[in-house]
């Protein structure tokens, strides 16, 4: 099993979490995820996920002009996004603790 497979299931949650404290633009969010330890995340995954979350009504966007370089499109959690982060976060914690228990019982961890 590699992290890429696992990541697919939780990328939505990871991106929502990366936006919890601070708004960010695409590449910025990618950097946050990588510095948090998710080295295998690709730019396309983050871009695609942002698009999907935005279309799902979980994110707001706004454009910030930049003196040097192109304008940047910032993403921000809206109320629905925060609610989804909370809900998915709980699902994840339950799932992770179940997996933790399972692995402990079998003595592999």
């Amino acid at each position: 099993m590699d992290t890429t497979q696992l990541l697919k299931g939780v990328l939505d949650l990871a991106v929502l979490a990366a936006l919890r404290d601070e708004d960010g633009y695409g590449y910025d969010i990618l950097r946050r995820l990588r510095s948090a330890g998710l080295d295998e995340v690709g730019d396309a995954s983050v871009y695609g996920t942002l698009r999907r979350l935005f279309n799902g009504g979980l994110l707001n966007t706004y454009v910030v002009p930049s003196d040097e370089g192109p304008h940047r499109k910032y993403y921000a959690l809206n109320a629905a996004g925060r609610a989804e982060l909370q809900r998915s976060g709980k699902v994840w914690h339950d799932f992770a603790s179940t997996m933790g228990d399972l692995l402990r019982e079998r003595g592999t961890a």
Binding site: Y27, V46, Y47
Partner: protein, 330 residues
């Protein structure tokens, strides 16, 4: 600098789009909607080209595809390499690059942006071609059609047919954007191809007939062309049935009429040699009817050049007389 960045983004974007070619248009467009801006953001971060930072566009597209969950329910269809489709995709990729490269020639970002502007012009022209084809199919008058879609030689019918076909073609052109299914599109493409071939053929024949007008525009054309096309020499007989030599032909304007070729085949050697005679016939030896004067009298006729025949033949040799019209003709 901006230009090269823009170019890099555009080509990367094209490649990603091509790799997602199998997705429904709506999904793909929505997915790629923000990508140009996003790629510009990426490029603005320090270090390297897009390919260096993001990997090959095909991989980027695959990751993108995975991230949208479009293939979530069922496994990816196995990549069956269909040579024809691969070839088509390769050609399309090249064309897209060419499209971008040729754009500045027309003053646009892409050459296709310029070509799209010409589309209504094509609709009008297509209407004309359809009218010509319809007229050609319906017309059985045997008269030449000319450049208008005449049926039975009627200009009125031609103009009505032309107007109807052009309007119909424009209507179809505006509607063709709504063709979502395959077969109407393909039928349209096939029809257009046929019309383009018709246009090329029609252009070629109109071009050649206008170039040859010096020889063939004699108004005796049957629908298959000039009935004088096979004429090689002209033999004039006077009222006594004597062959006239050195005859010259003129039209009502006083212009000399040229027919045939001034070359004679010498039966003894079998070679063609340039005629030594002024006027017609070029080759008196090949006269189709024996001249009655040959046996009856000594009137010079078929054996001598016109310039040397002083007597009876001269009266029938209308060199100066039929040119009275410089005053009236022009």
């Amino acid at each position: 600098m901006i230009g090269t960045e823009q170019y890099e983004i555009t080509s990367y974007l094209y490649a990603v789009r091509a790799a997602l070619g199998d997705l429904p248009d709506a999904i793909r467009d929505e997915l790629l909607e923000d990508l140009p801006e996003h790629l510009a953001e990426v490029l603005a971060e320090a270090g390297g080209t897009l390919v260096e930072r993001l990997g090959p566009p095909e991989e980027y597209a695959a990751e993108l595809r995975a991230s949208i969950g479009f293939v979530g329910g069922f496994p990816d269809p196995p990549p069956t390499p269909v040579p024809l489709i691969e070839l088509r995709d390769a050609v399309l990729r090249r064309l897209r690059v060419l499209d971008v490269k040729a754009g500045p020639l027309f003053g646009y970002e892409r050459a296709s942006e310029f070509l799209i502007l010409l589309r209504p012009g094509w609709w009008v022209f297509r209407g004309y071609l359809v009218a010509m084809v319809v007229a050609w199919a319906l017309d059985d008058s045997g008269q030449p059609m000319g450049l208008l879609p005449r049926i039975g030689g009627s200009e009125v019918v031609a103009l009505l047919l032309l107007a109807g076909a052009v309007l119909g073609s424009i209507w179809l052109g505006r509607r063709s954007f709504t063709f979502t299914e395959r077969w109407p599109r393909w039928a349209l493409y096939a029809g257009s191809t046929v019309l383009v071939l018709v246009a090329i053929g029609g252009f070629a024949s109109a071009d050649s007939s206008s170039r040859d007008s010096n020889y063939s525009d004699v108004n005796y054309d049957s629908n298959s062309g000039n009935s004088f096309g096979g004429v090689q020499d002209v033999f004039v007989y006077d009222e006594q049935g004597r062959l006239v030599t050195g005859a010259r032909l003129f039209d009502q304007e006083g212009n000399a009429i040229q027919l045939g070729n001034p070359y004679c085949n010498d039966p003894s050697t079998g070679t063609d040699e340039r005629s030594q005679h002024m006027g017609y016939p070029y080759c008196p030896e090949s006269a189709p009817f024996a001249s009655s004067s040959l046996s009856a009298s000594a009137t010079p006729s078929d054996k001598r050049p016109a310039s040397a025949s002083p007597s009876a033949a001269v009266s029938a040799t209308p060199v100066p007389t039929p040119t009275p019209s410089p005053s009236t003709g022009r």
